[in-house]
Amino acid sequence: MGWSWLLPHGASTFAARIDFMYYVILAITGIAFFVVELGLVWFLIKYRARPGRKAEYIHGSTKAEITWTSVTAVTVVVIGLMSGPVWNQVKGRHSVPADAMPLAARAQQFEWHFTYPGPDGQLETADDFSLRNQLHVVVNRPAVMLLQAEDVIHSFFVPAWRIKQDAVPGLGIRVWFQPTEVGTFELACAELCGLGHYRMRAQVTVHTQEAYDQWLAEQGQNVAIR
């Protein structure tokens, strides 16, 4: 598994589109890699110095220049055109679904604090509560998280969801996602934030709606203060 060019299993609606872009680029660059590298090796063998053979006195070819410049340029344009809409869907400010469940996340050395809206589904009301290093969400439901940082830059990274967003002191950044699978996943900090950076992790739990409702009810009895 460690040697693989395949991406690990994705568990959000973003994963399919991001992974597709990755595989498209893998295919294009893979072809380029083999053509160029094998061509290079072929030249090294075929054109090695041998007695009686002279190099050809060629200075270039305008036709070749135009060909390989155009092919490269068209390829990168295609990659750009394909990538743009995916980026927009993930990071675009107007792409957050209206019915996304609101959450808040506060990144600080070296913990994640998640604030939940409680049973009323609204943040900044009396039934909000916070948990340390635990993110609970509902499968197949979008959630939008206001991400803030207390002290230095951190980065919210859930590999299985293909989501990454830096948390920047002074900024409040909305991050949205929609998990597609029930289970537990890992959240890692992905921006150097000090000596505890390597251990700034959290557990992400994706529940069915029923399981989430039950978990929420239990939180009423068991709310810990930071």
């Binding site: 460690g2 294009i28 054109y47 220049e65 830096d166």
Partner: protein, 589 residues
């Protein structure tokens, strides 16, 4: 010494008697060749130091929490009982990057070869400003000493990465580092001065001091590359210095440039740093590309394919390099719409780089390839730069970057272009110009052994980092085993560490070859590689003043296997009966 442009047939300065003292000749020298060699020695020392720091990092990554062999010599604040502390690991990461970028690769490419090659290859007796040149070196040494001092600072050396993102870099309460980070800023400000002095010198020299007949389009590509690089240095370094001054002020005198609570902007640092930082990485590759062009043409006994395209590609990379910096900041909280625009410019910069790769291949196509040691390294450069460049396409795509940003995929990319690229080009260049610098040849057998060991262990070390990154392995992590999803990758981390140790050990061959050949290497001819450029028509090493008679240039530097001569090379300054004399005016056209 006069520094006006030379005229045809003028007696060069090498005709004078050299009565300088030892101190003036070798220590406080204004001779560009000596200054180039001084930069070479300084940079190789920092290269070794940067590599040593990396070995310590790889120990911790491969064997987390285990006492490092020899680690007990380190103080308790770094590695109690030989086990690296997390904050020490972070300063290793920071200083490895800092030493390699600023004190190894940049001075090797720009300080060494800019200095050594420019006057020789354009037919000039020295740089336009020889004393400024000397100052540039000694200011660089001062900067290096300031940077080294940080290891003794209370709180440890700088610990915010070589990128020094604020607020971590300006808040000792968060980083635990105060004096170390301040010394880091100060050192780079001083180094910036050294770089600026060099840039001014190189640009002026290339514009004003070319020998008669050395038109712009007869310049070797190494000189074109160094010239464009010098312009990048001139424009980019002041931004780094400015940012570092702002950071230093935030750290010491109470300003708030990057402190949001009091009106500052955290992202301002990133914009300043990367606006410098992206041109910087082209500073770190263009001279390498230029020298590789010279060496591949020589090793193929064939003109460079598409010389004009190569020149325009260098210019294109130099220009486009200014408008891509935001690709380092896609996930930073920068406006996502800006992300789209930077994606477009970043994808486009792939084009001139690809043009260069195809032209190198075109040079070798139908050539007569001689695999001397510099050619081996130069061809490896092409092979590995391709990998580094292709991996860059993944990051250019903003959605894919969401996943691979700040993972080992980026680390793989960086090292494929900087080590697989620049450092292999440097091995090629050092070996190639060693005879001209020292009058002796490096040992070719050990050169080949060093090449193959390095090439093998290098790829075993860095290629698997792509895989680590694709599985989500983050950067700058002291102990990957803290994460369940990374635990299965630990055998790969160990493999990489062992390959890295073997890679590092193999460099002993280069170091020994370099040092011993100085004393016992085969005495070098004037032109051991049968090259066309002007430095190969003067003794090895050239005298002070370089040319006894100012050369006259009749053609470009890549006339190999020309039908006009029975040799397979034709020097730039060799006059054939069919050649016209250039007009007797200063070579400023």
């Amino acid at each position: 010494m006069a520094t006006t442009a030379a005229t045809v047939g003028q007696v060069g300065h090498a005709g004078h008697v050299d009565d300088r003292s030892f101190l003036r000749k070798y220590i406080f020298s204004t001779d560009h060749k000596i200054i180039g060699i001084q930069f070479l020695i300084m940079s190789l020392v920092f290269l070794a130091l940067g590599g040593t720091l990396a070995m310590m990092m790889r120990w911790q990554l491969g064997f987390p929490g285990q006492a490092m062999p020899g680690g007990t010599v380190l103080p308790e604040t770094m590695a109690p009982g030989g086990v690296l502390l997390p904050e020490f690991y972070i300063s290793l990461v920071t200083m490895h990057g800092t030493f390699m970028v600023f004190f190894a690769i940049m001075p090797l490419l720009v300080g060494v070869f800019g200095n050594f090659l420019i006057p020789l290859k354009i037919g000039a007796p020295d740089m336009a400003f020889p004393r400024l040149n000397m100052m540039s070196f000694w200011v660089a040494v001062s900067s290096g000493l300031i940077m080294l001092a940080g290891f003794w600072a209370e709180g440890g050396h700088a610990g915010a990465g070589w990128t020094a993102y604020a607020p971590l870099s300006e808040a000792p309460e968060y980083s635990g580092v105060s004096l170390g980070q301040q010394l880091w800023c100060l050192s780079l400000i001083v180094l910036g001065l050294s770089s600026m002095l060099g840039a001014v010198n190189y640009i002026t020299t290339v514009i004003n001091m070319r020998a008669p007949g050395m038109t712009w389009f007869r310049l070797p590509l190494s000189i074109w590359a160094l010239f464009i690089t010098a312009i990048l240095v001139l424009l980019a370094i002041p931004i780094l210095a400015g940012g570092a001054i702002m950071l230093l002020f935030d750290q010491t005198i109470g300003t708030h440039f990057f402190k949001p609570a009091t009106g500052g902007q955290v992202l301002l640092w990133q914009h300043l740093f990367w606006f410098f930082g992206h041109p910087e990485v082209y500073i770190l590759i263009l001279p390498a590309m230029g020298m590789v062009s010279d060496i591949i043409a020589n090793g193929s006994r064939k003109p460079i394919f598409g010389y004009e395209s190569m020149v325009f590609a260098i210019m294109g990379i130099g220009f486009l390099g200014w408008i891509v910096w935001g690709h380092h900041m896609f996930q930073s909280g920068m406006n996502p719409t800006l992300g789209q625009t930077f994606m477009i410019s970043t994808l486009f910069i792939a084009v001139p780089s690809a043009i260069k790769v195809f032209n190198w291949m075109g040079t070798m196509w139908r050539g007569s390839l001689h695999f001397h040691v510099p050619m081996l390294h130069a061809v490896a450069f092409v092979a590995m730069f391709v990998i580094g460049g292709l991996s860059g396409v993944f990051m250019a795509s903003t959605p894919v970057d969401i996943y691979i940003h700040d993972t080992y995929f980026i680390v793989a990319h960086i090292h494929y272009v900087l080590f697989g690229g620049s450092l292999f080009a440097l091995f090629a260049a050092i070996t190639y110009w060693y005879p001209k610098m020292f009058g002796r040849m490096m040992n070719p057998f050990w050169g080949k052994v060093h090449f193959w060991l390095t090439f093998g262990f290098y790829n075993l070390t860095f290629f698997p980092m792509h895989q680590l990154g694709l599985q989500g392995h983050m950067r700058r992590i002291y102990d990957p085993t803290e994460y369940t999803f990374l635990q299965p990758l630990q055998p790969l981390n160990q493999f990489i560490s062992i390959a890295a140790f073997l890679l590092f050990a193999s460099q002993a061959l280069f170091a020994l070859n370099f040092i011993l050949s100085w004393f016992t290497g085969a005495k070098a001819d004037v032109n051991p590689w049968r090259d066309n450029a002007l430095e190969w028509s003067v003794p090895s090493p050239p005298p002070h003043g370089n040319f006894a008679v100012t050369p006259t240039v009749y053609r470009g530097p890549y006339e190999y296997s020309s039908p006009e001569t029975s040799d397979d090379y034709l020097p730039q300054d060799k006059r054939l009966p069919t050649d016209r004399m250039p007009a007797s005016q200063p070579a400023g056209d």
